[in-house]
């Protein structure tokens, strides 16, 4: 929620609650006060009514007293003559403006009356009794359903000769007077026991009065037994019933009423005024809240905006926040200093992201950018990738700290190289890059540079010479993108390192080979599962018997798009990419399976498989092989292993241990390609080797090259003297076979016997094979024996 909204809600809530509480309390108090005052007015009205009736009663009494004392009246009364009585009562009644006149004897029987029959019983016994007790009486009576203020006085002549009573009607004149005096509406109403309500007099119009009285009738009747006057509940009127008269059958009330609307009129206007005031206060509060929220949120908005701009990388120098010492001012200055901090850190990060931490040379990213720039400007240049060939050795020997020291030294030397303008970068590990603004590097410059770079570095007090290889690519000759140029320089460097040359310029086509290798490495992963690999088998023949003694299993790969891939190529790639174990596993499993299949068909064949350098250092190989033999029910003599010299030499100790275990398993082990490596026979002797395979480079032309024959012969002799069997591969013609057989070679392998064939062809070939007739090597053996001493 926005700050402004929240502030406004809080302020409004406080104001509304307080205003409502105050207003409601005030209005309630006022209303109660108004109603209390109304009640008071009604009570006062009731008292005024009583007072008025009393006063008028007193006046009447005085008038009647004068009448009763009037001698003429007395003499008329004493005549006891009815007509005379009627006329005198009428006459004297008129004098006092009475509405009712009566005369009764001492026992209360009517002598004459304006409203009652002669000689009837006393109609107002209660009042009469009071008059007899007190000498006179004033009170309200009901005659013919009409209320009268009535006075009874004795007539003395001078003894008591009767009672005279006179009364005036409580009519509209009375109610009008009360109304004039008090401003209250007054109605006189009589309720009879039978529920009949008679409207007697009212200051209100008759219809309304009747309605009101009927409405109040039940309420009044319910409480009519109570002699006290009381307020009646009414929505429109505040009413006060004052009991005027009550006897067994009648209850007469004076009902004083005050219109609530009139009474509350002032209160209503007060309500509206109060409402208006509250509304004004609310408006004022809203205005104040908006103003104060704005005054607080405006600088915050400015700051937020500024922060956003800073976030976008914009640089802001001043912030338009006025009050320097206010919180927002503080925030603004903090924001500016934060911007500074961010800028500094950003600069550091920027530098770090573009420079190598160790050497402080620009990194690969910078190199790519710079190369892109030069390409855009179409300036010819030369990329020279450098690598320290013995870097790994140095790291291993002297530790990484000194390796780093060497890199830093080389970096400095690169930066200080004389000659054409150049810039040095560190791409990765020990790989450095020199960008020379020249179409190509010339030999003289390179010689000087190599001299400088390969100056021995004093590492741990021993001078170490870094042997540098460089790969070169040129723009625009070798590409037009930084990636391409860098890769081609890398390919060149790779070639240089493998060939242990100090410098190699990229040659067209190398990149394509490189790409082919990448593709082969990638596809080799799926070759096994896609069944693109298969095994070919090439037989070996025992020269002593002329019979097939074994097959060599050779792996073949038919790539879906590249076609037949030479095993030398993909096996080397597999070794480089670390996939060779997967291939070996597949091969061993496949060969064992094949052997098992042949065995079941009755062909008891032995197969030799080639192990890679990786295999011979694999400690799991022995258990794997033994489990395979067991699974396919093969005997150890059905499987033999061929290992190249160079594979064994990579880690002689581990290889020896592995080979010993294999030997103990009963497997025969042959050294493959013997004669091409740097190993000596002495080394071979220490290995559990059973056979030597003379490399085909010595055998292919043995029938024509005398030197080869000599080497082969001496090798055979040495092998035999060490108790090893010898195999010649690459036997391509009959002459070579004869010669080798004569030289004492134990087994022959080559196209002259058979080309490698798929496994399906093996049984048929075996069936059609007829033993070879080869010369006995005794002569040779004798020759050897003769030479041996």
């Amino acid at each position: 929620m926005r700050f402004r909204t929240r502030l406004m809600i809080v302020l409004l809530t406080v104001v509304i609650v307080s205003q409502l509480a105050t207003g409601i309390a005030f209005l309630r108090a006022t209303q109660n006060d108004v109603l209390a005052k109304g009640s008071q007015r009604l009570e006062v009205g009731a008292r005024v009514l009583t007072q008025l009736l009393e006063t008028r009663g007193e006046q009447l009494r005085d008038n009647v007293a004068i009448l009763a004392d009037d001698f003429g009246f007395k003499s008329a009364v004493s005549t006891q003559d009815t007509d005379t009585l009627y006329s005198v009562l009428a006459n004297h009644g008129d004098r006092t403006d009475a509405d009712i006149v009566l005369l009764n004897n001492l026992e209360g029987r009517i002598l004459a009356s304006s409203h009652h029959a002669q000689d009837s019983a006393m109609p107002f016994p209660e009042l009469f009794e009071r008059a007899r007790q007190e000498g006179s009486a004033v009170g309200v009576v009901i005659a013919d359903g009409q209320p009268y203020e009535f006075v009874m006085l004795p007539v003395r002549a001078p003894n008591l000769i009767g009672w005279v009573g006179m009364g005036f009607l409580i009519d509209e004149a009375v109610t009008a007077e009360i109304n004039a005096l008090t401003g209250l509406d007054i109605s006189v109403v009589n309720y009879r026991d039978n529920g009949e309500i008679s409207y007697l007099a009212s200051s209100q119009n008759e219809q309304l009065a009747t309605r009101l009285l009927s409405g109040n009738g039940n309420a009044l009747m319910e409480t009519a037994v109570s002699p006290s006057s009381q307020m009646t509940p009414d929505d429109e009127y505040l009413s006060f019933a004052s009991l005027l008269y009550a006897d067994a059958a009648n209850h007469t009330y004076a009902l004083l009423q005050l219109s609530r609307r009139e009474l509350l009129g002032a209160y209503r206007s007060l309500q509206w005024q109060l409402l208006g005031i509250v509304a004004l206060i609310l408006l004022f509060t809203i205005a104040v809240a908006m103003w104060s929220a704005r005054s607080m949120s405006k600088p915050l908005m400015v700051l937020a905006n500024a922060a956003q701009r800073i976030g976008k990388g914009e640089r802001i120098h001043t912030l338009p926040v006025d009050a320097e010492r206010s919180e927002t001012g503080l925030l603004a200055s903090t924001l500016l200093s934060m911007q500074e901090g961010i800028a500094q850190r950003e600069a550091v990060l920027q530098h770090q992201s573009r420079h190598d931490l160790l050497t402080d040379l620009p990194n690969r990213f910078s190199a790519q950018e710079d190369i892109s720039q030069l390409i855009l400007r179409d300036e010819p240049f030369t990329l020279l990738r450098l690598a320290v060939n013995n870097f790994r050795d140095i790291n291993d020997t002297f530790g990484y700290a000194l390796g780093d020291h060497m890199l830093v030294t080389l970096a400095k030397r690169l930066q200080q190289l004389p000659g054409p303008e150049s810039k040095a970068y560190r791409l990765d590990g020990d790989e450095l890059l020199l960008l020379i603004k020249q179409p190509s590097s010339d030999f003289a410059w390179r010689a000087r540079a190599f001299t400088t770079l390969q100056t021995p570095i004093d590492l741990d007090k021993s001078p170490i010479t870094p042997f540098i290889s460089t790969g070169e690519s040129n723009y625009p000759d070798h590409g037009d993108s930084p990636q391409l140029l860098l890769r081609r320089a890398d390919i060149a460097l790779d070639i240089a390192r493998r060939q242990r040359h100090p410098h190699q310029r990229y040659i067209e086509g190398q990149d394509e080979r490189h790409l082919r290798q990448l593709m082969l490495i990638r596809d080799l992963q799926e070759a096994v599962s896609n069944a693109e690999l298969w095994m070919a088998y090439q037989p070996k023949v025992d020269t002593h018997t002329g019979l097939v003694c074994q097959f060599e299993a050779l792996m073949r790969w038919r790539h879906p798009s590249l076609g037949f891939v030479p095993p030398d190529e993909f096996i080397e790639l597999a070794e480089r990419s670390g996939n060779i174990r997967m291939l070996s596993q597949w091969m061993l499993t496949h060969v064992c399976e094949q052997l098992h299949a042949w065995q079941r068909r009755g062909y008891n064949v032995s197969v030799a498989v080639n192990l890679s350098a990786s295999d011979v250092t694999d400690r799991q190989l022995v258990t794997h092989l033994s489990s395979l033999l067991e699974r396919y029910q093969l005997t150890p003599d059905q499987l033999s292993l061929e290992v190249t010299e160079s594979a064994v030499m990579q880690d002689v100790d581990v290889a020896k241990a592995t080979l010993l275990e294999l030997n103990q398993l009963g497997l025969r082990i042959a050294i493959d390609d013997y004669g091409t490596g740097h190993s000596s026979l002495a080394q071979m002797k220490r290995l559990p080797v059973d056979e030597l395979k003379i490399d085909k480079s010595f055998v292919l032309a043995i029938d024509s090259q005398h030197d080869d024959a000599t080497i082969v012969r001496s090798t055979i002799d040495m092998g035999h003297s060490l108790g090893l069997k010898l195999v010649a591969e690459g036997v391509e013609n009959h002459a070579s076979a004869i010669l080798l057989s004569q030289l004492g070679c134990d087994y022959l392998q080559g196209y002259w016997i058979a080309k490698p064939m798929p496994s399906e062809a093996v049984p048929a070939w075996l069936d059609s094979f007829s033993p070879l007739d080869l010369p006995h090597p005794q002569t040779a053996a004798l020759t050897t024996a003769q030479r041996t001493p």
């Binding site: 004392d69 001698f71 007395k74 003499s75 009364v77 004493s78 001492l106 007899r132 000498g135 004795p154 003395r156 002549a157 001078p158 003894n159 008591l160 000769i161």
Partner: protein
């Protein structure tokens, strides 16, 4: 208020008869009537009538007066035999207008001062209530009696009766306070030596007190 000695002049002859009877009789004392109110207070001016056979004709006293002084009748109760004349002399300085609306005798003596109007004859037995038209509080009773003996009690409420012949005799007692109509009598019998005690219930409204209004006081002070 000091009451005048009760000595009915009109009954002098009756007293003589009584004395004679007393002498003739063998009884030691004469009969007596005592009248008290229900509250036990003695009632003065109660009228006692005794009816008995007598040969002697009732002697009318030649002069009976009820005079007016200090705006009051004197005496307030007068017992006269039927056919008596009563004069109403005025001894005040103010005029009086004496009247009666009683059935026994209705009359009306218009305002007079010194010139006493001729006496009024009361030829019918009964209680006559006297009033003055200009002084409402003035009131007096004339009990016109047919009885051979009628007299009023003294301040102790006692009345000594004259010697009575032997036997039971009818007795009537009246008092102005018994009833507003003033026509109610207590009736009983008495023998020659009885000491009759009569208790009367006073039911009549008390007459308005003769108060002196401020207006009257000023008039009085002026004279």
């Amino acid at each position: 208020m000091l009451k005048q000695q009760h000595r009915p002049i009109s009954s002098l002859t009756r007293v003589c008869h009584a004395l004679l009877l007393m002498l003739l009789s063998t009884s030691a004392h004469a009969a007596q009537v005592t009248v008290t109110s229900a509250a036990g207070l003695p009632l003065e001016k109660a009228v006692v009538e005794v009816y008995y056979d007598t040969a002697a004709a009732t002697q009318l006293s030649p002069e009976n007066n009820i005079y007016q002084r200090d705006a009051a009748f004197h005496p307030t109760v007068l017992t006269v035999p039927t056919g008596s004349d009563v004069a109403f002399p005025n001894q005040d300085n103010t005029r009086h207008h004496v009247y009666s609306f009683s059935p026994a005798k209705t009359f009306d003596l218009n305002l007079y001062l010194r010139e006493t109007p001729p006496p009024v004859r009361f030829g019918q037995a009964g209680v006559v209530v006297l009033g003055c038209n200009i002084h409402d509080h003035m009131r007096a009773f004339i009990v016109v009696s047919d009885a051979p003996y009628a007299a009023t009690t003294n301040a102790q409420g006692e009345l000594a009766l004259p010697p009575l012949p032997a036997g039971q005799h009818r007795v009537r007692v009246w008092h102005s306070g018994v009833d507003d109509s003033h026509q109610v009598w207590w009736e009983g019998t008495i023998s020659q030596s009885d000491l009759l005690e009569v208790t009367l219930e006073l039911n009549a409204l008390p007459p308005p007190a003769p108060t002196v209004s401020p207006l009257q006081q000023r008039f009085k002070d002026a004279t």
